[in-house]
């Protein structure tokens, strides 16, 4: 449905240029929910706006279906009002001087190609408002709506023209936590039942994993990793990807033999990246929820002595800071409960580790080791 090739976009700022998007390729399949995840400034919103036609890229091509939206080579650029995309903005951009009805009807009444009769418009607006459960607000002034209601108006307005693609720019960021979860699930349900191809941008990893069919992690203008949320979570391909999706404990070490690394806390048995040989420097990571804590001391591989330093009660889980040697590890568990000061055994199974070669520069996408265990 959406095909982006070699996209590049930069901005002039006092003191130089910012390359917001760099040589980026992306494909979104029809009917899928595609999420762009990344920190502020990574270029995800810029990318979205290029697809919308609100920014003109310096380089690259964008195809929507078989319509060419923009091409630097062919000097072609289609205005936003002529693209078959719809967008929900971070601020919702609901017009305060119009009623809910007028807001939602706008794409039908004000668009360049207006083909609908008044009855048809009324019918479609009612239908759209029903989809987002706002029928009874039809004639309210848009200025009186709450944040969640405004967002639903924005959604209805976006869906009313049955666009080829729905673009969402962090629409849940301004909602409080509970509403955010509700709307998140509603959006997923709605887009799935309508079969709308969606490109969704967010910096919230939980939201990203919950919504995405396919997830892409962006960093400094490029796509770092792309894949199903579970695969990316369990087996991140890059250190940055691992840090952005969930939390990770990191250790550094030197490869000793095949399958073992000497680290700050001792020798760890773990899978090694391809081509790693004795003496290579590596970085190891393990997620807090895969670290096991046991009351009794136990031997065996990857078992270390530790002491509970901090206990944080999270409601549905408990998080600990455990001191092992010189390091502090974060551990998350729902199974057992330990008091502060307690001595414990910290067990980290070999196949729970991800290992990356240590590179001189801290950035750039590095392929890492993936364990043979399937996600």
């Amino acid at each position: 449905m959406l095909r982006i090739t070699n996209l590049a976009k930069q901005f002039e700022v006092p003191g130089g240029q910012i390359k917001a998007v760099r040589d980026l390729d992306l494909t979104v399949e029809e009917g899928s929910f595609f999420v762009l995840l990344g920190p502020s400034g990574c270029g995800k919103t810029t990318l979205l706006r290029c697809v919308a036609g609100l920014e003109q890229p310096e380089d690259g091509e964008i195809y929507l279906g078989d319509q060419l939206l923009s091409s630097s080579a062919r000097r072609l650029y289609v205005d936003p009002e002529d693209r078959e995309v719809a967008m929900v903005f971070q601020s919702y951009a609901v017009w305060p001087h119009m009623s809910v009805f007028e807001n939602v009807a706008f794409p039908l009444t004000e668009a360049k190609r207006r083909r609908f009769s008044r009855e048809q418009v009324e019918g479609k607006v009612k239908e759209a408002l029903s989809l987002v459960r706002l029928r009874e607000f039809e004639h309210h002034s848009a200025a009186t709506l709450s944040g969640g209601q405004q967002q639903r108006v924005a959604l209805a307005r976006a869906l009313i023209r049955e666009p080829k693609m729905l673009l969402m720019d962090e629409p849940l960021s301004n909602l409080d936590a509970k509403l955010r979860e509700e709307m998140r699930d509603e959006i997923k349900e709605l887009t799935r039942s309508l079969g709308v191809t969606t490109l969704h941008v967010t910096h919230d990893q939980t939201e990203a994993m919950a919504l995405a069919d396919i997830l892409a992690v962006m960093h400094e203008g490029k796509i770092l990793e792309i894949g199903k949320p579970e695969a990316l979570y369990r087996r991140p391909g890059t250190r940055i990807g691992a840090e952005f999706l969930g939390r990770t404990n990191w250790l550094t070490g030197v490869v000793e033999g095949s399958g073992s690394v000497k680290t700050e806390i001792g020798v760890v048995t773990c899978p090694l990246p391809n081509g790693a040989t004795q003496g290579n420097a590596v970085t190891l990571g393990i997620r807090p929820e895969w670290v096991e804590l046991r009351a009794d001391p136990c031997g065996g591989a990857n078992s270390f002595a530790g002491k509970i330093e901090v206990r944080i009660f999270l409601g549905d889980a408990v998080s600990y800071w455990v001191r092992v040697g010189e390091q502090r590890l974060m551990v998350k568990t729902t199974l057992a409960d330990f008091a502060v000061g307690r001595q414990v055994s910290v067990v980290m199974p070999p196949d729970c580790w991800v290992v990356f070669p240590e590179m001189p520069q801290p950035l750039a996408a590095e392929p890492g080791a993936r364990a043979s265990a399937s996600p």
Partner: protein, 565 residues
């Protein structure tokens, strides 16, 4: 957002408007090198030579200094304490004070001049007559037709601009800065001298420059109070040069003088803007600073109230009352039991009969046409400046602001000349639209300033949502931007209408029998010696102006813009 081709009409209007504003300003230099009949003159540098050598000009220049500097000092000497007292003490009736200040701002200077003229004219001044009558003096003790008279009235008149510059700055002073002073052990006086005063200095400096520029370039009060005893300053000299009774008016020479004044004025105004900008950064550390505390007046309350009352008495009360008195009697007399019996509303009732319908019609046309035209031109300019990435947009914004830095009298000379030059093609010279055209140049920046600010507050995404929903750029401007601009548009419309209503200088310069407007009518009647009629129209003008201003303030307070994102 990328500029779409459909925006071409918007861009065209904006560019044409900018050029329209720029033309008369640049023309001043062109005219300065010409001599002879407009349209068939010859080029010469004689005008600039004369500027350098002419003794009349030198005297006028000297007078301008003698007039402008003390005026500025006096005006600032009044404005700073007034602004301080209103923003930082617990004086009662602050709302009223601010309102009265706005009234003084709105009243044409020459109305104040007229009032004081009636009071302190050496021959017929009421106060003089009363004093001479009661003390038996043979000569009038006060003469308003002198440099001191001019300084006195003009400085009263220039307090409001300085006041309105200073008050927001004083109010915006962050409490933390002072409190740190107190907590370091300094007493009130030391805190004032070492903290408050230095912090306020940039704003005071900026206001001083602003008032200085005005004092050097304003026309109304130097005209009313200077002409009778032939005391000329720059602005009145320019008027005289272009309105000589005999021979060809000396447009070239006037333009030469004007160009010098213009350069100086533009330069100083830029400094003013720069200092004010930096001063703002200086005074409030963060945008969310707490307002500095209110000081208790205590035993200073009496003197403060007295001082404020005295100011308004002198700037507003006495001149207006005098004119009201004058408008109610058949000829000028001192108030007494007999003269009170001659009071009547005759001058008002017979007004239409005495002055005719024309001045009202012309004024009506101006206040109808000018604000609409200004808004129609301002919206495209503001939109291009704020919303697009067009490279020339800041130049456009700056150029539109240029006329505010140029003395009105200079602008009028240019317009006068250009009107004559294009007369064969566009016979607009001498018509009321000629005056309207000049007003558009003068007041466009008021509208762009207000609309610039308003567009900035309209979240960009509101317009982007419109375009993504399928509407063209122009349609989005019409359906989304303009409705959300309503308060700013209304505000601009009202202010421009008010300013156009009471403008004297340019209307007088461009005056002809066909385009007589109310302010010029007052001037003419005054110079013809028909004082009660002049007073009646002046009072009427003032009344309507104040009414418009009050409506504007009330209307804006009531207009609540539903939450813009």
């Amino acid at each position: 957002m990328r500029l779409s081709k459909a925006l071409a009409p918007v861009l065209t209007v904006a560019v044409l408007a900018t050029l329209y504003v720029l033309a008369p300003l640049l023309a001043t230099f062109w005219i300065a090198f010409l001599e002879g009949v407009p349209g068939s003159g010859y080029y010469t540098i004689e005008n600039y030579k004369q500027v350098l050598t002419d003794s009349f000009g030198h005297r006028a220049l000297w007078n301008t200094f003698l007039f402008g500097l003390p005026t500025t000092a006096l005006a600032m000497g009044l404005a700073v304490p007034l602004a301080w007292v209103v923003s930082r003490t617990d004086l009662a009736g602050k709302q009223l004070i601010v309102l009265l200040m706005a009234v003084v701002l709105i009243i044409p200077g020459f109305v104040q001049g007229m009032g004081w003229s009636v009071l302190l004219s050496p021959k017929i001044g009421l106060i003089n007559r009363i004093l001479m009558g009661s003390t038996g003096m043979s000569e009038a003790p006060f003469n308003i037709y002198s440099l001191w008279g001019m300084i006195f009235v003009q400085s009263l008149n220039l307090v409001p601009p300085a006041f309105f510059i200073l008050v927001p700055v004083f109010l915006g002073m962050d409490a933390i800065l002072e409190e740190a002073g107190y907590l370091s052990g300094a007493n009130r006086r030391r805190v004032f001298l070492r903290i408050n005063l230095p912090l306020a200095l940039p704003a005071i400096a900026a206001a001083t420059i602003y008032v200085l520029v005005l004092a050097f370039s304003l026309f109304e009060i130097p005209a009313i109070l200077g002409f009778p005893h032939r005391i000329f300053v720059f602005s009145t000299m320019v008027y005289v040069l272009t309105h000589t009774g005999s021979g060809i008016p000396e447009y070239g020479l006037a333009a030469a003088y004007g160009s010098v004044l213009m350069i100086l004025s533009v330069f100083l105004t830029r400094q003013y803007a720069r200092i004010l900008r930096e001063g703002h950064r200086y005074v409030t550390i963060s945008g969310r600073g707490r307002r500095a505390g209110v000081l208790r007046l205590g035993r200073w309350r009496g003197p403060a109230v007295a001082a404020v009352s005295l100011y308004f008495l002198l700037s507003l009360g006495l001149p207006l009352l005098t004119l009201v008195w004058l408008s109610l009697i058949p000829f000028l007399q001192t108030p007494s039991v007999e003269s009170l019996s001659t009071m009547s509303f005759d001058n008002y009732v017979n007004l239409l009969h005495l002055v005719g319908l024309d001045p009202f019609v012309n004024t009506g046309l101006i206040i109808l046409f000018v604000p609409l035209a200004v808004i129609f031109l301002a919206v495209p300019i503001s939109w291009i400046v704020i919303r697009t990435q067009v490279r020339a947009r800041f130049v456009m914004d700056g150029l539109v602001f240029l006329p505010t830095a140029v003395p009105r009298i200079v602008l009028a000379v240019s317009f006068l000349y250009l009107g004559l030059v294009i007369r064969p093609f566009f016979p607009v010279y001498g018509s009321v639209y000629f005056i309207a055209g000049a007003y558009i140049v003068m007041y466009l920046s008021f509208a762009t300033r207000a609309i610039n600010g308003a567009i900035t507050q309209i979240h960009r995404e509101l317009e982007e949502a419109g375009r993504i929903s399928g509407a063209s750029s122009v349609r989005v401007i019409l359906k989304v931007t303009v409705p959300l601009l309503k308060p700013a548009l209304l505000f601009s419309w009202l202010w421009v209408m008010l300013l156009a209503f009471r403008e004297v200088t340019v209307a007088l310069m461009l005056n002809s029998p066909a385009n007589m407007v109310l302010p010029v009518l007052i001037w003419n009647r005054w110079n013809e010696g028909r004082l009660p009629e002049a007073a009646a129209v002046a009072v009427l003008l003032t009344f309507i102006a104040v009414l418009l201003m009050m409506i504007g303030r009330k209307g804006l307070e009531r207009m609540v813009m539903p939450g813009i994102a």
